[in-house]
C-alpha cells in the first residue's frame, strides 16, 4: 500500500506536459500493482488454531531433543562392528544407520519446527522498507577531494622527480621475479615421458597375477593375461606411474586369424601384446570379447579389433592401440623386443 502511494508520488512531474496532445490519456500499462491486501491466516483470527500450531512446534522441538538423546545413547551403546539386516537395503552397519537416522530426525525436526513456527505464528504482513541513496552528501565529497589533493601535494610526487622515477623503475622490475620463476617450469616439461615406458629390449614379461615369468604355452587361445616388465615391484615408489604407461594385455590368436601383417610379425606363436590404455582419454581398456577379439573401452565405447592391428572399429579413439613387439628368449620366456613403437595412451600436442 505504501509502495503504491510512493510510485504515484514518484512519477516525473513533467511527464504529462511532454505528451500533451499526442495521444489520448491512457492509464499506464506497466503500473506498479503494489502489494495485494493482507489476508489473515487461521492462526491470526482463531486463538485455538494458534495454540494448536504452538503445540505442533513444541512437539517437533521435543522430538528433536529426544532424537539427540537417542543419538548419544546409540553412540555409546552400539558396538562399531555390529551389522543388522534392513529390508530393502541389506546388511548395514548398525552404528551408521542409527546415528544417521537419529541425527537426521533431530536436525529435520529442528528445521521443521522453525519453519512451522514462522509460517503459522510469526507475522506474515509484508513490510516495505525504501532504499536509501548510496551517494554521500556534497559536503563530505568536497572534503574528501580536498584531503586527497592536499595529500598528493604533501607527498611531493610531482616535485621530487628522483623518487618518482626510482619508484616507477622498482614497480616495473618487481614482476620479473614471477616471470623468472615461471621459467623453471621448463625443467618440469614432459620431455620423453609421454613417449617412453618401462618396456625395453630384453625385458621379460611377468604375469601380474602370479609374478612369475610367462611362457608362451601358459597362454591359451581365448584367455586374457596381464603382464608387466621384469624388475617392477608394487612396493616401488613410482610403480603406479610406471604401470599406468607399461600395462599390457596378452591374448593368443590363431595365426590365421591375424589380419594385419605387422601384428603377425610382432607376435610370438600367435600371442600378441597390446597396451591396456585407451588412446582416447587413457581409460584402462581390457573388456576383451574372446569370440570377436574386440576390446571395448568402458568410458566412451571405443572398440578396437585385436585381430587387425587393434584398429579402431567404433568410438571416438583416434589411434590404434600400440602393440608391444614380443619374442621368446633362450629360457623359453616371453620377452619384449623393444619399447612400444607409438606413444601409449591419449594424444598430446607434440605427438605428431
Amino acid at each position: 500500500m505504501s509502495s503504491q502511494e510512493h510510485s504515484e508520488a514518484a512519477l516525473p512531474s513533467g511527464r504529462g506536459d511532454a505528451h500533451e496532445g499526442t495521444v489520448a490519456a491512457r492509464s499506464d500499462p506497466f503500473a506498479d500493482p503494489g502489494l495485494p491486501p493482507h489476508e489473515p491466516r487461521v492462526q491470526d483470527i482463531d486463538e485455538r488454531a494458534a495454540k494448536r500450531s504452538e503445540r505442533v512446534v513444541a512437539f517437533l522441538f521435543t522430538l528433536s531433543m529426544l532424537a539427540t538423546v537417542a543419538f548419544i545413547v546409540a553412540y555409546v551403546a552400539i558396538p562399531v562392528d555390529r551389522s543388522v539386516y534392513l529390508f530393502p537395503i541389506g546388511r548395514v552397519s548398525a552404528t551408521n544407520i542409527t546415528l544417521g537416522t537419529t541425527l537426521g530426525v533431530a536436525l529435520f525436526c529442528l528445521g521443521a519446527a522453525a519453519i512451522h513456527w514462522a509460517r503459522t505464528l510469526m507475522s506474515d504482513v509484508e513490510l516495505v522498507d525504501q532504499r536509501h541513496p548510496v551517494e554521500s552528501t556534497p559536503e563530505i565529497r568536497s572534503k574528501v577531494l580536498a584531503d586527497f589533493k592536499e595529500g598528493a601535494a604533501e607527498s611531493g610526487l610531482g616535485r621530487r622527480t628522483l623518487i618518482r622515477k626510482t619508484m616507477l623503475g622498482a614497480l616495473t622490475l618487481i614482476p620479473l621475479s614471477g616471470l623468472v620463476l615461471l621459467g623453471g617450469l621448463s625443467k618440469a616439461a614432459p620431455g620423453t615421458k609421454l613417449r617412453r615406458t618401462a618396456w625395453a629390449r630384453g625385458k621379460t614379461l611377468i604375469n601380474q597375477n602370479t609374478l612369475q615369468p610367462l611362457r608362451p604355452e601358459d597362454i591359451e587361445v581365448g584367455s586374457l593375461t596381464f603382464a608387466m616388465p621384469k624388475g617392477m615391484k608394487e612396493e616401488d615408489h613410482d610403480f603406479q606411474n610406471q604401470i599406468a604407461k607399461a600395462a599390457v594385455m596378452l591374448v593368443r590368436l590363431r595365426p590365421e586369424d591375424i589380419k594385419d601383417k605387422k601384428e603377425l610379425d610382432w607376435s610370438a606363436d600367435g600371442i600378441v601384446a597390446y597396451s591396456r590404455i585407451c588412446t582416447h582419454v587413457g581409460c584402462p581398456i581390457t573388456l576383451y570379447e574372446q569370440q570377436t577379439h574386440h576390446v571395448l573401452c568402458p568410458c566412451h565405447q571405443s572398440t578396437f579389433d585385436l585381430s587387425d592391428g587393434a584398429r579402431v572399429v567404433f568410438g571416438p579413439a583416434g589411434h590404434a592401440l600400440p602393440q608391444l613387439r614380443i619374442g621368446i628368449n633362450k629360457d623359453g620366456h616371453l620377452e619384449a623386443l623393444g619399447d612400444f613403437a607409438a606413444p601409449v595412451g591419449p594424444s598430446f600436442w607434440e605427438r605428431g
Binding site: 489476508e39 489473515p40 491466516r41 487461521v42 491470526d44 483470527i45 482463531d46 551389522s83 534392513l86 537395503i89 541389506g90 546388511r91 548395514v92 552397519s93 551408521n96 544407520i97 519453519i115 509460517r119 503459522t120 506474515d124 604375469n207 601380474q208 597375477n209 602370479t210 610367462l214 611362457r215 604355452e217 601358459d218 597362454i219 591359451e220 581365448g222 584367455s223 586374457l224 593375461t225 596381464f226 591374448v251 584402462p284 581398456i285 581390457t286 573388456l287 576383451y288 570379447e289 574372446q290 569370440q291 570377436t292 574386440h294 571395448l296 568402458p298 565405447q301 572398440t303 567404433f314
Partner: protein, 255 residues
C-alpha cells in the same frame, strides 16, 4: 530358485557321496555307462546345434576339448540348451538334472581333454585370502564385472552378468573355461589359489550375507557416481523443499 538350489545341493551331496567309487575305477563300466547315457542325452538335446559328433556347426561351436567344467557351467546355470539365438545366452532355470549334467559332462570329456569340474575344496572360502582376491578381481575381472561383481554392459547387446547369488563352483568354472565372450583364465596364468581367493572375495562383497556399512551401494561404481547421485537427487530434494517453504502461507478463507 530355492527349490532348485536345494535340489542341486542334495544331488551334489549324493554325487559327492557316490563319486569316489566311480573315480576309483574311472575307466570301469560305470564311467562308460555315464558316457553312453551322456551321448544319448547329447544326441537329443545338443546335436542339432553342436553337430552329431560335437564337431560344431554354423549354429554352435565345437565342444571337442572344452572339458566337463564348461558343460557343468553352461548346463547347470541353464545357459544351455539355448532358448533362442541372440547376443548371448542368459542364465535361466536348469533343464537337466544333476545326474544328467554329469553324464553330459562325461560324454564331452570323452571327446577331448579339457578343464575338469573343480572339487568343493577348490572353491570353498576356507583358507582363502579375501584381500588378495579383491586385488586379483580388480586386475582381471572388474573391467567387465564392475568392482564388486555387479556386472556391466558390453558391445552389441552382450553383457557381463551380475555375479550376485552365482554358485562359487560356477564362478570357478567360468574363470577356467571362459564361457561365450568372457576370456578364460587358465591355471597357468591365474593359479587355482588365485581363483579360490577371487571366489572368496565375491562371497564377501557380493552375496546375500555381504555387509555394506553405508547402506545403498548404488551398484558399487565408487565414490564419484555415489557423489553425483547425492548431488543430483539430494540437492534436488533440498531445492524442492526450499521452494515449498518459500511458497505463500495458507490463508484463512474470507467469510
Amino acid at each position: 530358485m530355492v527349490v532348485l538350489l536345494f535340489a542341486l545341493a542334495v544331488t551334489g551331496g549324493l554325487y559327492a557321496a557316490l563319486a569316489p567309487a566311480d573315480s576309483a575305477r574311472a575307466d570301469g563300466p560305470a564311467q562308460s555307462l555315464a558316457i553312453e547315457e551322456g551321448r544319448k542325452l547329447y544326441a537329443v538335446g545338443c546335436a542339432s546345434c553342436h553337430g552329431t559328433g560335437a564337431q560344431g556347426t554354423s549354429d554352435g561351436p565345437s565342444l571337442v576339448g572344452t572339458g566337463p567344467a564348461a558343460v557343468d557351467f553352461q548346463v547347470a546355470t541353464g545357459r544351455m540348451p539355448l532358448q533362442q539365438h541372440g547376443a548371448q545366452a542368459p542364465r535361466k532355470k536348469a533343464v537337466y538334472s544333476r545326474a544328467q549334467i554329469d553324464q553330459l559332462a562325461a560324454y564331452v570329456a570323452s571327446l577331448g581333454a579339457g578343464p575338469a569340474v573343480p572339487a568343493p575344496g577348490q572353491y570353498s572360502p576356507e583358507g582363502a585370502d579375501v584381500a588378495k582376491g579383491g586385488e586379483l578381481f580388480r586386475l582381471n575381472c572388474s573391467q567387465c564385472h564392475n568392482f564388486t561383481g555387479k556386472g556391466g554392459a558390453l558391445s552389441d547387446g552382450k553383457f557381463a552378468p551380475n555375479l550376485h547369488g552365482v554358485d562359487p563352483r560356477h564362478i570357478y568354472e567360468a574363470m577356467q573355461t571362459g564361457p561365450q565372450n568372457m576370456p578364460s583364465f587358465p591355471d597357468t596364468v591365474l593359479s587355482p589359489k588365485n581363483k579360490k581367493d577371487i571366489v572368496a572375495y565375491l562371497g564377501t562383497v557380493n552375496s546375500s550375507t555381504s555387509e555394506n556399512p553405508g547402506g545403498f551401494g548404488l551398484g558399487g561404481f565408487g565414490p564419484v557416481s555415489e557423489g553425483l547421485f547425492a548431488w543430483i537427487f539430494g540437492l534436488g530434494a533440498l531445492i524442492a523443499v526450499a521452494v515449498w517453504v518459500a511458497a505463500r502461507t495458507a490463508k484463512a478463507k474470507r467469510s
